[in-house]
C-alpha cells in the first residue's frame, strides 16, 4: 500500500505535448481509473508512473518518496499489460518467478510466493505450461500474478481486459475488483471502457487531450459531469444534447430550444455563472426520461419518436427533440407506438446544462 502523487507532470514527445501540467493525488489503497479516448495520454501517464518513460517536467512520488529518477524496479510497482506480455520461452512458473530471481530472492521464498499467487488466481494447474498453451483469460491471470508475487505497493493496469472477449472481460473485471478488496493495494487502471471504469473505480479521472477533465467518484462523474466532454464520453448510449438558450429573466428559469419550445428548469442547481440569453446545451441521459408518468418536479419535453431498439432488459426509443437526435431508455416490457409525437418528462435536477461555447457545466 502506498500513496501515489503526480505533481506538475509534463511529457513531450518531440514537439507534441502529451501531458500538460498534470496533478493527481492517489490515496493509499485507492482504485483509480484513468478513462479517456485513445490518444488522451492515459497510457503515457501510466508508463511515466511505471518509470518506463522519461518525463519532461514535474515529479512522481510513490509511498512518500520522490521516484522521478528511479528505475521501474525500484518504484514498488507491478504492471499488467493489454498484450499480457508474458515471456514466451518461460513456463508460467518461470514467468511468475522472473522478477523475484532478478531481485535475488532466496529460492524457497520464491517457491512460497509463486504458490501463494497461483492459489489466489487459481492458476495452480497451469504452472508448468508455456504462455502459448494458455487461453486469453489464463494469460491475463498469469500477467496479474507476475505483479502479485513481487508484493508491490502499487498495481498498474494498462487496459488489461481489452484483448478478451465480452464474457471473460466481465469475469476478470469482477476478479480484479475482488483482488483489490483482498490485497488493499493502490491500483491505477487505464481503460477506454467506461463500464470498467464505473464498476471498478473508487475515483475516475476522465482524461482528454493530456488533461484530466474531471476527477471524482463514478457516481459524481455520471450524475454531474463537469463539462460536455465528460458528459458525452461516459454513459452508453450517450447523453442526449439539445442546444438552446437560457431564459433567466423573470419567473421560473427556463431553457428555450431552437424551435422555440420553453422548458421549465426550476430545480436545476447552477454551479457556474449563468447569464440570461446565454447559448447553452442541455444534457439528459436516456434513462432520465420518462414517457409514462410525470414525477412531481418533472418538466414536459415534447419528443417525436420514430424507432424502437429492443435490447432485452430494456429498449431504446430513438426520436428527435427540436431537430436533434434523442434516445430514451424504457423498460423492455413497455410498448411504444412509433412514429408518434408525445410529451416526455424529466427532472431538471438530474439534467446537466453546459455552456455552448466552452462546454463547461453551468
Amino acid at each position: 500500500m502506498a500513496t501515489v502523487s503526480i505533481r506538475e507532470l509534463e511529457i513531450d514527445f518531440g514537439t507534441l505535448r502529451v501531458l500538460q501540467t498534470l496533478n493527481l493525488d492517489i490515496k493509499e489503497g485507492e482504485f483509480i481509473v484513468l478513462l479517456g479516448p485513445s490518444g488522451c495520454g492515459k497510457s503515457t501517464l501510466l508508463n511515466a508512473v511505471a518509470g518506463l518513460l522519461d518525463v519532461t517536467a514535474g515529479q512522481i512520488w510513490i509511498g512518500g518518496k520522490n521516484v522521478t529518477w528511479e528505475e521501474p524496479k525500484d518504484r514498488g510497482i507491478g504492471m499488467v499489460f493489454q498484450s499480457y506480455a508474458l515471456y514466451p520461452r518461460m513456463t508460467v512458473k518461470g514467468n511468475l518467478s522472473f522478477g523475484l530471481k532478478m531481485a535475488k530472492t532466496p529460492h524457497d521464498e520464491i517457491e512460497k510466493r509463486v504458490a501463494k499467487a497461483a492459489k489466489i488466481l487459481q492458476i495452480e494447474p497451469l504452472l508448468g505450461r508455456r504462455p502459448s498453451e494458455l487461453s486469453g483469460g489464463q494469460r491475463q491471470r498469469v500477467a496479474i500474478g507476475r505483479a502479485l508475487v513481487r508484493d508491490v505497493d502499487v498495481f498498474l493496469f494498462d487496459e488489461p481486459l481489452s484483448n478478451l472477449d465480452a464474457k471473460l472481460r466481465t469475469e476478470l473485471r469482477v476478479e480484479i475488483k475482488r483482488l483489490h478488496h483482498e490485497l488493499g493495494s493502490t491500483m491505477i487502471y487505464v481503460t477506454h471502457d467506461q463500464i470498467e471504469a464505473l464498476t471498478l473505480a473508487d475515483r475516475i479521472a476522465v482524461m482528454n487531450g493530456g488533461v484530466i477533465q474531471q476527477l471524482a467518484s463514478p457516481k459524481e462523474i455520471y450524475r454531474r459531469p463537469v463539462n460536455r466532454f465528460v458528459a458525452g464520453f461516459v454513459g452508453s448510449p450517450g447523453m442526449n444534447f439539445v442546444d438552446g438558450t437560457l431564459a433567466l429573466g423573470g419567473g421560473a428559469p427556463g431553457f428555450v430550444l431552437s424551435d422555440g419550445t420553453r422548458l421549465d428548469i426550476s430545480g436545476y442547481e447552477f454551479s457556474g455563472d449563468p447569464k440570461d440569453g446565454q447559448p447553452a446545451t442541455i444534457g439528459i441521459r436516456p434513462e432520465q426520461i420518462e414517457l409514462k408518468e410525470k414525477a412531481e418536479d418533472a418538466t414536459i419535453l415534447p419528443i417525436h419518436l420514430n424507432l424502437v431498439e429492443p435490447m432485452g432488459a430494456d429498449s431504446l426509443v430513438w426520436g428527435h427533440v427540436s431537430g436533434t437526435q434523442f434516445a430514451v431508455r424504457i423498460d423492455g416490457d413497455d410498448h411504444v407506438a412509433t412514429p408518434a409525437t408525445v410529451d416526455a418528462f424529466f427532472s431538471p435536477s438530474q439534467a446537466s446544462i453546459f455552456d455552448k461555447a466552452g462546454g463547461a457545466r453551468l
Binding site: A50, K73, I77, F81, F98
Partner: protein, 296 residues
C-alpha cells in the same frame, strides 16, 4: 445417378493444365542447368587422367578412382608446399568459427540495444552502419591494411577475424534490429518492471526468442566467410590462408600436365561446407527469412 450429372461434392478433382506442364518443364530445365556442372565435376574427379585425356566430358568413368581426392586433400602442391588443401580447410575453420561467433554476438547485442534501449543518436548510428554496408570493399582495403599493421594485427588470425567481424556487422545488426523491432515492446517493458537489466533481459528473454534469426545469421555468415577470397588473401597472412586461396593455388600450380581430376576434387571439397549448410538448414533458412518478413 450417372457420373456425367454428378453434383459437385467433396474436394474438387485436380486437373493437369498446359500451364502446369510448362511450369514443370521450366523447373526441370533449370534444375538440370544448375546440376550439370556439379555432375561434370563429380564425374571428372573420380576419373584417372588417362580417361580425362580422351575428352569425353559427360561419359561415366570406366575405372573410377578416389586417388584424386586423396591427392587433393593431402599432397597436392600449393606453390612450393605440397600438403594438399587440408591446411586451407583447417585455416578456414579457424577463421570461420571465431568470426561467425563474434560478428553474430556483436550484431545481436547492437541490434537489441538499438531496438529496445534506444540510446541517444541510435537512428544516426544505425544509418551510418547501413551506409557502411553500401560502400565498396575496395575502398576500405588499403586503409584497413595500414590500420591493422599499426596495431600489429596484419597478417594474423585475429586480424582476419576482426576484418570479417567489421564487414559482417552492418548486415548482422540490420538483421537483429529488424527482428527485435517485431517483438512487442510490452515484453521489454514487463521485463524492466520485473527488474531486468540490459544483459538480463538480453540473455534470459531476447536470446531465447531469437533462435530463427540466429540460424539465418549463422547461415549467412558461414557461407559468406567460407566463400571469402579477397580478405583471406590480403589480411590472413601466408600461414593462415583460407581454403579458397589454397584452392586457387592448387589450381594454378602446374608441374607438367594439368590435373583436372585433382582440381575438381579440391573444388568440391572447398564447396562442401556451404553445400552442407544449405542442405541441412534450407528449411530453417526459409522459415527464418519468412518470420523476419512477417514480423517486419
Amino acid at each position: 445417378m450417372s457420373t456425367t450429372t454428378m453434383e459437385p461434392q467433396g474436394p474438387r478433382p485436380s486437373r493437369i493444365t498446359p500451364a502446369r506442364i510448362g511450369v514443370y518443364a521450366f523447373l526441370v530445365v533449370s534444375a538440370a542447368f544448375f546440376l550439370l556442372p556439379l555432375y561434370v565435376m563429380l564425374i571428372t574427379s573420380i576419373k584417372p587422367m588417362a580417361e580425362i585425356r580422351l575428352g569425353n566430358l559427360f561419359s561415366f568413368p570406366l575405372a573410377p578412382t578416389i586417388e584424386p581426392w586423396i591427392k587433393a586433400w593431402t599432397y597436392a602442391c600449393t606453390g612450393v608446399n605440397c600438403d594438399g588443401i587440408k591446411v586451407g580447410f583447417l585455416n578456414s575453420f579457424r577463421i570461420l568459427v571465431p568470426s561467425v561467433i563474434v560478428s553474430i554476438a556483436l550484431g545481436a547485442t547492437i541490434g537489441y540495444a538499438l531496438s529496445f534501449w534506444r540510446p541517444r543518436g541510435a537512428n544516426f548510428l544505425f544509418a551510418v552502419l547501413l551506409l557502411g554496408a553500401f560502400i565498396p570493399y575496395q575502398v576500405f582495403l588499403y586503409p584497413l591494411v595500414r590500420m591493422l599493421s599499426t596495431v600489429g594485427l596484419y597478417n594474423s588470425l585475429p586480424g582476419i577475424v576482426v576484418v570479417h567481424t567489421i564487414f559482417g556487422l552492418p548486415l548482422m545488426t540490420l538483421l537483429f534490429r529488424n527482428f527485435y523491432a517485431g517483438i512487442p515492446i510490452d515484453l521489454f517493458k514487463a521485463a524492466r518492471v520485473d527488474g531486468g537489466g540490459f544483459w538480463a533481459i538480453f540473455f534470459r528473454l531476447m536470446l531465447p526468442l531469437s533462435t530463427p534469426i540466429i540460424i539465418v545469421a549463422v547461415i549467412l555468415q558461414v557461407t559468406g566467410i567460407w566463400n571469402d577470397f579477397l580478405f583471406g588473401l590480403i589480411f590472413a597472412g601466408r600461414e593462415n590462408f583460407p581454403m579458397t586461396v589454397e584452392l586457387n593455388n592448387v589450381v594454378n600450380t602446374t608441374t607438367g600436365e594439368r590435373e583436372y581430376n585433382v582440381n575438381m576434387a579440391a573444388t568440391i571439397l572447398t564447396a562442401l561446407v556451404p553445400l552442407i549448410v544449405y542442405f541441412v538448414s534450407g528449411r530453417w533458412f526459409v522459415r527464418g527469412i519468412a518470420a523476419g518478413a512477417v514480423k517486419g
